[in-house]
């Protein structure tokens, strides 16, 4: 479990991270979502002690990161897949990690296999890796010490669709076995599909957080009747707001209520369903647009 409490980071007068608090719970994938420059990476660097916070604190499993005697055995971290020495081979990068953590070198082969880097690829220097291969290497490095917590900054960056699918499965399974995952992304659809809990950040502030169901809850129904005008009248008589949408109507009421009104009026429906989920993307754009307006007004 990761607890972030009131973390603020300022650079001179610029506030990069502003009073951020959230929790990543055991057995869950927490998606840390925000546009570029929102403060995600800074927050994650603060979590692992690479950046000192101006205020606030982070505890991981009850400890400050820097107080862990051998952090790699508990917490797998991938902050930037391109932060590897170009001149080292992929295998060497993992070997250095295994030697630091005191792991048997057989772990290196296991991890290479897990992330599908072939022995030939592992012998190549990182300079010759694609971003996708670097991400796989970075994920292998994060998993080396068999950690119970993962902190991953933009792990899907550079992965091809098959790679993203693979990573999603890997992290879901990891959380299902009781692992804690905190991952950041600006790829909305990716987070929507992988995370249980969402923490949305914009301009250094948390603008929304909650379970995916809470944040994505939708209301209303979409309905299409043969007698379009008659349905509109009937709904208005019942005090239900309805607006034309495509060939049908978008209403505030639930599908059951609409069905009852239509039945009572003897109307023929050809389509009736819950309104489309606004989706995380709309939520995300809406929230970040809000913070931008706030910034402009203030």
């Amino acid at each position: 479990m990761i607890t972030v409490e009131g973390v603020t980071k300022t650079y001179g007068s610029f506030v990069a991270v502003d009073d951020v608090s959230f929790t990543c719970r055991t057995g869950q994938v927490t998606g840390f979502l925000g546009p570029n420059g929102a403060g995600k990476s800074t927050t994650m660097r603060i979590m692992v002690g690479l950046t000192p916070a101006t205020r606030g604190r982070v505890t991981i499993g009850g400890h400050a990161y820097a107080s862990l005697p051998n952090p790699g055995r508990h917490i797998g971290v991938l902050l930037d897949a391109s932060a590897q020495h170009d001149g080292r081979t992929g295998r060497e990068v993992l070997t250095l990690g295994a030697l630091t953590m005191g792991l048997p070198l057989s772990r290196v082969d296991e991890m290479l296999e897990l992330v599908s880097l072939s022995p030939g690829e592992a012998k190549r220097r990182v300079r010759n890796y694609s971003l996708g291969m670097r991400q796989r290497l970075g994920i292998a490095h994060a998993l080396l010490g068999d950690p119970s917590i993962l902190i991953l900054d933009e792990p899907a960056n550079g992965l091809d669709p098959a790679g993203i699918h693979w990573m999603r499965g890997l992290l879901r399974e990891y959380a299902a076995r009781g692992g804690t995952v905190c991952l950041s992304s600006h790829l909305l659809h990716e987070v929507e599909r992988i995370a249980d809990v969402l923490v949305v950040i914009g301009r250094g502030r948390i603008v929304a957080q909650g379970t995916k169901d809470e944040l994505l809850q939708t209301q209303g129904a979409y309905v299409r009747a043969v007698e379009h005008e008659a349905l509109l009248d009937a709904l208005h008589r019942e005090g239900i707001a309805a607006a034309p949408a495509g060939e049908g109507l978008r209403t505030d009421a639930e599908p059951l209520r609409i069905g009852q009104v239509a039945a009572a009026s003897g109307l023929t429906l050809v389509e009736l369903r819950p309104a489309d989920s606004a989706g995380l993307e709309d939520l995300f754009l809406e929230l970040t647009a809000d913070t931008q307006r706030e910034g402009a007004v203030a």
């Binding site: 002690g49 499993g61 862990l68 030697l99 630091t100």
Partner: protein, 263 residues
């Protein structure tokens, strides 16, 4: 760590680190030694140190008179080329972590940064000892093959000791400049240019002439290379100039790295 241990026993979501041994310094040092040789650039720097040591002894062997072919003279011939290359090794051991951004990984795996830096110092000194041992081995071989009559005379522990002080000083100064600049080019250029600039300035400015042996490392290290024994004043001058050129930049660089934001 002590506060963490008591917290874990009650917190179910906590991490139990009570049985975790701290990463031993030996493991960190082993990793840093490995980093010296696991890239092409690093490997070639080590090979270059070896080859140049062998080459300079060979050249000296061919060029010197029979009577000058003593073990000590062979050793002293290696002082300058090794003194050029070992500091570069020290600089790169620090700066490559920043230019290649591997500090991000290194300090995540070992958040107590001072321990990583201590491991780097130990790794650099081990490499320095290896270079000196290599120089001694080749010098001994050259002496055996065609040394003077008294080629093995006048070899004292103090000679080897002074030689070691000289090379360790260069390595530590390299590390210090690496820490100070966190940039290979800036550290290397400054390491080589600054002493030259300093010598020029002090030769032009007569007021500096008197204090020069006390503050110029190049001057104060001369007695380390000569075979004669050193006077108390010479040791004191070595001490003050080392303080200025090695210890001071090291401390400033250390503070910088301990406090830096690693991106």
């Amino acid at each position: 760590m002590s506060t963490g241990r008591s917290a874990t026993t009650t917190d179910l979501a906590g991490l139990d680190i009570a049985d975790d041994p701290r990463i031993p310094l030996s493991a960190l040092t082993r990793v840093e030694l490995r980093k010296l040789a696991d890239t092409r650039a690093g490997k070639w720097l080590l090979i270059a140190i070896g080859l140049i040591t062998a080459a300079i002894i060979t050249i000296f062997f061919l060029a010197a008179n029979q009577s000058d072919r003593t073990f000590i003279n062979f050793m002293q011939a290696t002082a300058t080329p090794q003194g050029f290359l070992l500091p570069v090794l020290g600089i790169l051991l620090v700066t490559s972590e920043w230019s290649q951004r591997t500090a991000l990984v290194t300090f995540t795996l070992m958040p107590v940064r001072g321990r990583v830096l201590l491991a780097k110092v130990l790794a650099a000194l081990i490499a320095g000892v290896a270079a000196i041992v290599l120089a001694m081995a080749i010098a001994a071989l050259a002496t055996l093959l065609g040394g003077a009559h008294d080629a093995w005379a006048h070899i004292g522990l103090d000679d080897i000791g002074k030689f070691t002080i000289l090379q360790f000083s260069g390595l530590l100064q390299g590390l210090a400049f690496g820490l100070l600049f966190l940039n290979s080019a800036a550290a290397i250029v400054t390491y080589f240019v600054l002493p030259i600039a300093f010598t020029i300035v002090s030769s032009l400015w007569s007021a500096l002439e008197k204090v020069q042996p006390w503050i110029d490392l190049g001057t104060s290290q001369q007695p380390l290379i000569n075979a004669d024994s050193m006077s108390g004043q010479e040791w004191a001058q070595l001490g003050t100039s080392t303080l200025l050129w090695v210890v001071l930049p090291f401390v400033v660089g250390l503070v910088r790295v301990l406090r830096a934001e690693v991106k």
